[in-house]
């Protein structure tokens, strides 16, 4: 019953909700980012980070540090926190938490398949995979030659199996098909997650619907912009858009026929929530679009914490941590390559 979640939520979810709110208080603040942006070297970054919650993870790293090490250790912290929450969760929270990782599974699958296509070593690829998206038979992906084999050998046992029904073909895997496969899988995943949240009902479904709708719309815009000028037909493009979100169905119709960025902008400016994003960009420019989308996403995720007694806080926390790791990666790269003037181009402050 919507509005009365407060009466029964705490039976199963109260402890974990309090824990995730405690984790949230450990996110880096604007003051921390200011300190980090003024670092001269990676050693300085390590020193500043050891004063925050990342301390125990970074203190044993030998110098010289690499940016990938910093990112890896920070991701390890996220994985530890996720696992602590998952092992104490009951249904339906445990299913909800598992849904959060399916996106990473899809990315890992695509990473390995692409890497195998370009003849890289499987071990090297496995090390690059995101730890939240690992599953048991992931190394067997290197053996598959086309999508049918991919499904039959490996993916039928994973949670991604139901998402494959739309994209099984007998074509061999090449770069274009892999990207289409990635987007089709992600579309099926988003729709499944959306349905699951609707079934949960109450505040969870309201908050998650908003966040997932924004995600679907953002992906639609990115797919459109990335496929301008490629050989992807309009019908193929339309098949990659999700069936929910603010842009469904009329915005999708217009996006499918867009041929350049200004037409995309014209479509998006008809929707007030996205008008503010696109008004920040000047005409013909799309580099800042990513940052604008990230800022909007962070704003919506922070709003999820305003309400108590729902599952949206778990999703929001995971996403905010990932954003923080992206920020740290950008800052470390800028510092390592001595491009400190560009540091603020891509850092999104969370608080």
């Amino acid at each position: 019953m919507y509005g009365f979640e407060a009466l029964t939520f705490n039976v199963h979810g109260g402890y974990l909700e309090a824990i995730v709110r405690g984790y949230r208080s450990g996110l880096l603040t604007a003051a921390d980012y200011n300190n980090l942006c003024q670092c001269e070297s990676l050693e300085d970054i390590k020193m500043h980070l050891s004063a925050t919650e990342y301390g125990p993870y970074l203190q044993n790293e030998p110098s010289p540090l690499h940016t990938t090490t910093i990112v890896e250790k920070c991701t390890l912290k996220l994985v530890d926190e996720y696992k602590q929450m998952l092992c104490q969760a009951t249904e339906p929270l445990s299913t909800f938490l598992e849904y959060i990782t399916y996106g990473h599974m899809i990315d890992n699958v695509v990473l390995i398949v692409t890497g195998t296509l370009h003849e890289r070593d499987v071990q090297e690829l496995l090390e690059k995979c995101h730890p939240l998206g690992m599953f048991d038979s992931i190394a067997t992906l290197a053996v598959a030659q086309n999508m049918r084999e991919l499904y039959r050998l490996v993916l039928v046992d994973t949670p991604l199996a139901p998402y494959f029904s739309e994209c099984i073909t007998s074509e061999d895997l090449d770069d274009m098909n892999i990207e289409i496969m990635r987007n089709t899988l992600y579309k099926a995943y988003l729709q499944d997650f959306y349905r699951f949240c609707q079934k949960l009902g109450g505040a969870t479904s309201e908050i998650m619907s908003d966040i997932l709708a924004f995600e679907a719309d953002r992906r639609a815009v990115n797919i459109t912009i990335n496929s301008i000028g490629t050989e992807l037909t309009r019908d193929d493009r339309r098949k990659l858009y999700s069936n929910f979100g603010l842009l469904y169905p009329y915005g999708h119709e217009e996006l499918a026929i867009s041929e350049d960025i200004d037409q995309v902008r014209g479509v998006m400016e008809k929707y007030p929530p996205y008008q503010s994003i696109f008004s920040k960009l000047s005409y013909g420019e799309s580099q800042m679009l990513d940052k604008a989308f990230y800022e909007e996403e962070v704003k919506r995720l922070c709003l999820a914490f305003e309400q108590q007694f729902h599952y949206g806080v778990f999703f929001a926390y995971m996403r905010l941590r990932e954003q923080e790791i992206r920020n740290l990666m950008w800052i470390s790269e800028c510092v390592a390559q001595n491009q400190k003037s560009r540091v603020h181009d891509s850092v999104v402050f969370i608080f």
């Binding site: 407060a6 009466l7 705490n10 039976v11 109260g14 402890y15 974990l16 909700e17 309090a18 824990i19 709110r21 405690g22 984790y23 208080s25 450990g26 108590q308």
Partner: protein
């Protein structure tokens, strides 16, 4: 004899007033304790989880648990008061209007106290949970949210006052 035409009303007034009184006493303690327990688990689970990151909140936030507990104590006190009002009447007078009135008064008193304490316990519990979580983030918020809790716990007190007034005039017919 009241209500002799309809069979339902006849059946209702032939229920012994002792039954009504006893059920009233049971509801007063049972439902109050339900409210207190409900409130304590709502507050307690959030408090324990939040105290992992911010251990300083534990001692102050036990006040929320104490407010919930007070609700159960109100229920016990009223139940004890009500059971002293339960007297025997001679069997010839058991269905007199005076007896029925006393039975109904004790029953109503029990319901008033029970349900007022139920919602009071729930209210204080939910606020206590939010109080623990916000205190963990920002310790200046604790005192302000405590004021909301104090207003919430006054609801139980209202129920107790009205219940005691109701039961004070529950006089059974005198013998003879």
């Amino acid at each position: 004899m009241v209500g002799s035409s309809s069979s339902w009303s006849t059946a209702l007034v032939r229920i012994s007033p002792y039954t009504f009184a006893a059920i009233g006493i049971a509801i007063s303690i049972g439902v109050s304790v339900l409210g207190a327990a409900w409130g304590i688990y709502i507050t307690g689970s959030s408090l324990i989880g939040a105290a992992i990151k911010a251990p300083r909140i534990t001692s102050k936030n036990l006040i929320s648990v104490i407010f919930c507990e007070a609700v159960a104590i109100y229920g016990v006190i009223v139940a004890i008061i009500l059971q002293t009002k339960l007297e025997s009447v001679p069997s010839s007078k058991i269905y007199d209007p005076e007896s029925l009135r006393a039975g109904y008064a004790i029953f109503a008193s029990g319901i008033i106290v029970g349900f007022a304490n139920l919602v009071c316990g729930l209210c204080v519990g939910i606020i206590g949970s939010s109080c623990a979580l916000s205190d963990a983030q920002n310790s200046s918020l604790f005192v302000k949210i405590l004021v909301i809790e104090i207003f919430g716990s006054a609801l139980g007190l209202f129920g107790v006052i009205v219940g005691i007034i109701m039961s004070a005039q529950a006089t059974w017919p005198s013998k003879g």
